[in-house]
C-alpha cells in the first residue's frame, strides 16, 4: 500500500512537471560527424530563442518550452531518421529545428517528419534538391538553396576577375549540389572549370585528389567541402605541394576552425556563407555573446531564426499542433506586419496574441520565398593578415 502511494505520488509529480513544460522543440543537428564544430553554436542559437520566449511568459497560455537535442551525424541518414523518430514519438516534440546537412535532412524529412506530420525548419540544409521535395507544407529552411550560392560564387569570381578555377567537392548531396550549381552559373557567366571532382571525407590520404587538381590547374581552387573533414586535408595537400595557394571557401568551410588552422597560410583567399548586415545580425551577436556562445559561427543565426519561426507560428495559430501552425510559418516570416529583430520576440508574441501581424526579420534577415526557403543573403569574407574579415554582403 505504502509503495502504491509512493508510486502514485511520483507519477503525480512527473505529470505535474510535464504540465509545466508542455511544449517541446526538437533540435536535430549533427553533433557528431564532419560539421561537429558548428553544431554546438547552432544549438545554442536555437536555445537562445527558446529562452527568450520562455522569459516573456507570453507564449500561448504561459506555456513553457523545452529544447530536446537529437544527433544526426550529418552524413548518417539512418542515425538521423532514428533520432527524428525518437524526438517525434518518444519525446513528443511539437516542432523540429533541423536537420543540419542536406542528405540527412532529406532522409529524416521523408521517413520521419512527413509520415508523422511534423514541421521541420532546417537552419542549414542547402541542397537545391530540397526546393522541389514533396513536403506537404511541413518543411521550411532559413538558409538559402545552393542554387543561389552557386550564382553568388560566380558573381564574386567575376568581380575579382578570375576566369579559370578547379573545383573539388565532398561526395554527398550538399557538395555535389553546390558544385554543379556553381559550375553552371560560372560557365554561363563566361568562366571555365578545369576539373570538377569529388573527394570522400575521412580518408587516409588525399595525394591522388591533389595531384589531379594540380594537373588540371586553374587560378584558384574552390573547395566545396567540410572544414572538419576532407576539405581541410585537400587544402593542406595543395599548400604543401604548392599546387594552389589561393582558395574559395563556400559555407561548409567558413568557420573559426578554418581561421585557426589556415589563417596565416591562405592569405588572399576568400569565400562566402549565409549572413547579412541588417541590424538583426548585430543584435543577435550581442545577445549571443551575452549568452556565452559564438554567434558568428556559420548557421548559428539561422538556427535562432528557425526556432523563433516555429514558436511565432504556434503563437499565431494559437496551437502547438504541426498540422495547424504549419500554415502560419510563411505569414509570420514575411511582410506585412511589424518587423521583429532578435531580442524582440516578447513584442512579437504580444502582437500576435492581440491578433496583429508580424514580419519576422530575425538574425539572418529572413524572407521566405517559393517553397519556404530563405531568399539568401551572403557575407563575403577574405583572409587578410591571417584574419578572416568581412569584405561585403551580397
Amino acid at each position: 500500500m505504502k509503495k502504491l502511494l509512493m508510486a502514485s505520488a511520483a507519477t503525480a509529480l512527473i505529470a505535474g512537471a510535464a504540465q509545466a513544460q508542455d511544449v517541446k522543440i526538437g533540435i536535430l543537428l549533427g553533433f557528431t560527424g564532419p560539421l561537429e564544430s558548428l553544431a554546438p553554436d547552432m544549438a545554442e542559437g536555437a536555445k537562445l530563442a527558446i529562452a527568450e520566449v520562455n522569459e516573456s511568459g507570453l507564449f500561448l497560455d504561459g506555456a513553457s518550452i523545452e529544447g530536446v537535442n537529437g544527433d544526426t551525424g550529418c552524413i548518417d541518414a539512418s542515425l538521423a531518421v532514428a533520432s527524428a523518430e525518437r524526438l517525434i514519438t518518444s519525446d513528443k516534440v511539437n516542432g523540429i529545428v533541423g536537420g543540419m546537412c542536406s542528405g540527412e535532412t532529406t532522409a529524416s524529412l521523408q521517413n520521419a517528419a512527413i509520415p508523422n506530420g511534423m514541421v521541420m525548419i532546417s537552419p542549414s540544409a542547402t541542397s537545391p534538391a530540397l526546393s522541389t521535395i514533396e513536403d506537404n507544407g511541413l518543411f521550411f529552411r532559413t538558409s538559402p538553396s545552393d542554387a543561389r550560392q552557386g550564382q553568388v560564387m560566380a558573381d564574386i569570381l567575376n568581380d575579382r576577375g578570375i576566369k579559370e578555377v578547379a573545383v573539388t567537392y565532398t561526395n554527398n548531396d550538399y557538395g555535389k549540389g553546390l558544385a554543379d550549381s556553381f559550375q553552371a552559373a560560372f560557365e554561363a557567366a563566361g568562366g571555365s572549370v578545369t576539373i570538377n571532382t569529388a573527394h570522400e571525407d575521412g580518408k587516409a590520404d588525399y595525394s591522388a585528389e591533389v595531384g589531379a587538381l594540380a594537373s588540371a590547374g586553374g587560378e584558384i581552387l574552390v573547395v566545396a567541402g567540410y572544414v572538419d573533414q576532407g576539405g581541410a586535408a585537400i587544402i593542406n595537400g595543395s599548400l604543401d605541394t604548392g599546387a594552389f595557394d589561393t582558395f574559395m571557401f563556400p559555407d561548409g568551410m567558413v568557420s573559426e576552425t578554418l581561421e585557426t588552422n589556415f589563417g596565416n597560410l591562405v592569405e588572399g583567399s576568400f569565400g562566402q556563407h549565409p549572413g547579412n548586415d541588417s541590424d538583426g545580425g548585430a543584435r543577435f551577436n550581442e545577445l549571443g555573446e551575452a549568452a556565452g556562445f559564438n554567434p558568428t559561427n556559420a548557421f548559428s543565426p539561422e538556427s535562432y531564426d528557425a526556432a523563433a519561426l516555429i514558436l511565432l507560428a504556434m503563437q499565431a495559430a494559437g496551437s502547438t499542433d504541426p498540422q495547424v501552425y504549419k500554415d502560419k510559418v510563411m505569414d509570420v516570416a514575411n511582410a506585412p506586419g511589424e518587423q521583429i529583430l532578435p531580442g524582440e520576440l516578447a513584442k512579437a508574441l504580444q502582437i500576435l496574441k492581440d491578433g496583429g501581424d508580424v514580419d519576422f526579420v530575425g538574425a539572418s534577415a529572413v524572407e521566405l520565398i517559393g517553397p519556404g526557403e530563405s531568399a539568401g543573403n551572403y557575407r563575403e569574407i577574405e583572409f587578410k593578415d591571417g584574419k578572416m574579415v568581412t569584405v561585403g554582403y551580397r
Binding site: T197, G202, K203, A208, A214, A233, T241, G242
Partner: protein
C-alpha cells in the same frame, strides 16, 4: 628543361606523396602481418592501437612543448615517441592479459579472435576519444619543409616546384630504420628466431622448449612499437584524428593481404603497391605530358585513367586480383 619540369611535377605530386604514404602503410601492415603470423588472427584493433600510441605521444609532446623542450628543426614528437611506445605497450599487454589470453588458452578459432579484436577495437576507439576527443589535433612543430615548392623554383629556375616536407623525410628514414631493426631482430637474434619458429609450426616450437607466453609478449612489444611509430608518423604527416585511424584499417589490411599475410617483406611491398596504385592510376597526366610532347600533340583532356572517386576501388581491384590468382599474396604468406 621541359623534361626536367615533367620529372619534377611527377615527383611532387606522385612520387614523394606515394613514397611517404607507402611507408606509413607498410609500418601499419607489418604490425598486422606479425600478429597474423604469430598469434594467428587478423587484428582489427590495429588502427586504433595506432591511434592510442599516437595519442600518448601527442600528450607527451604537448607537455614537452609547454615546458620548452624542443628538438631543433625536427618535430618534438620524435622525442616523445619512446613514451608513446611505452604507453602503447602497456595498453596492448593489458588487453592481452585481460582479453586475448583467455581465448588463447581456450584454443579459440581464429574467426572468434577476429570478432574479439573487433570488440577491443570499439573499446580502444572510445578510450582514445574519451581522453583526447574526436577532433583534429595538431602537434607537428619544427621546420615544416626540407625543400618548399617556392624555394625549389627559385633555386632551380624551373616552372614546377618540388616540395618535400620534413615529416615526409622523417617518415621514410624512420620507416627504413625500423624495418632494418625488425629484420635484424627476426633473423639474427635468438628471440626473433624463436618467434619465427613459433609462427612456422607451433607444436614443434613448443616441443623444442620455446616458451609460448614469452613469444606472445615479444610479439606484442614489437607490434605496439610499430603501431605507435606508424601512428605518429601518419599524424605528423597528415593530422591526428581518431576517425581517420579507424579508416586506415582498410588500406593497411589491403597492403598486408596483397603482400601476403604473415610475410613481413610482403607487408612492405604491399604498402607501397597500394599507395602507388591509389595515386598513379587516378593521376591526371595532362601536366606531365604537356611538358614532354611537342606543342601540337598537347592533350585537351586531363588524361586521367580513372576519376579520383575510384581511388579506393583501385586498391580493392588489386586485392581481388591477388586473391584470385595468388591467394597467398605476392610474397607467399599464409593462405586466408
Amino acid at each position: 628543361m621541359e623534361l626536367l619540369n615533367a620529372i619534377v611535377a611527377l615527383s611532387n605530386f606522385v612520387l614523394v606523396p606515394a613514397i611517404s604514404y607507402g611507408s606509413q602503410l607498410a609500418l601499419g601492415a607489418l604490425g598486422v602481418t606479425l600478429i597474423y603470423g604469430i598469434l594467428r588472427f587478423s587484428n582489427f584493433a590495429h588502427g586504433d592501437t595506432m591511434a592510442f600510441g599516437a595519442m600518448v605521444t601527442i600528450l607527451v609532446t604537448w607537455w614537452m612543448q609547454s615546458v620548452g623542450i624542443g628538438f631543433g628543426p625536427l618535430p618534438t614528437a620524435l622525442l616523445a615517441l619512446p613514451f608513446g611506445i611505452l604507453g602503447c605497450i602497456a595498453l596492448v599487454l593489458l588487453t592481452d592479459r585481460m582479453v586475448y589470453r583467455f581465448y588463447r588458452e581456450q584454443k579459440a578459432k581464429p574467426v572468434i579472435l577476429v570478432i574479439v579484436s573487433m570488440g577491443v577495437m570499439f573499446i580502444m576507439n572510445g578510450l582514445v576519444r574519451f581522453i583526447i576527443g574526436p577532433d583534429d589535433q595538431n602537434f607537428a612543430d619544427g621546420t615544416r619543409f626540407i625543400v618548399s615548392a617556392r624555394d625549389f623554383k627559385e633555386m632551380t629556375g624551373l616552372d614546377e616546384g618540388l616540395a618535400i616536407k620534413t615529416t615526409q623525410g622523417i617518415t621514410v628514414v624512420t620507416a627504413f630504420v625500423v624495418v632494418m631493426l625488425l629484420f635484424w631482430f627476426l633473423n639474427r637474434t635468438r628471440t626473433g628466431k624463436s618467434m619465427r619458429a613459433y609462427s612456422d609450426n607451433e607444436d614443434l616450437a613448443l616441443l623444442s622448449g620455446i616458451n609460448p607466453e614469452r613469444v606472445v609478449v615479444y610479439t606484442w612489444l614489437i607490434v605496439a612499437t610499430l603501431a605507435t611509430v606508424a601512428g605518429v608518423l601518419y599524424g605528423l604527416d597528415k593530422s591526428f584524428k581518431p576517425f581517420t585511424y579507424f579508416q586506415l584499417l582498410l588500406p593497411i589490411f589491403a597492403s598486408a593481404i596483397v603482400g601476403g599475410l604473415g610475410s613481413p617483406l610482403g607487408a612492405i611491398a604491399g604498402g607501397f603497391i597500394i599507395a602507388f596504385s591509389e595515386v598513379t592510376i587516378t593521376y591526371a597526366w595532362k601536366k606531365v605530358i604537356t611538358y614532354v610532347v611537342p606543342e601540337r600533340f598537347e592533350p585537351d583532356s586531363l588524361v586521367q585513367l580513372l576519376g579520383t572517386d575510384y581511388k579506393l576501388a583501385v586498391s580493392f581491384v588489386i586485392l581481388i586480383i591477388v586473391l584470385l590468382f595468388r591467394p597467398t599474396g605476392i610474397f607467399k604468406g599464409k593462405a586466408l
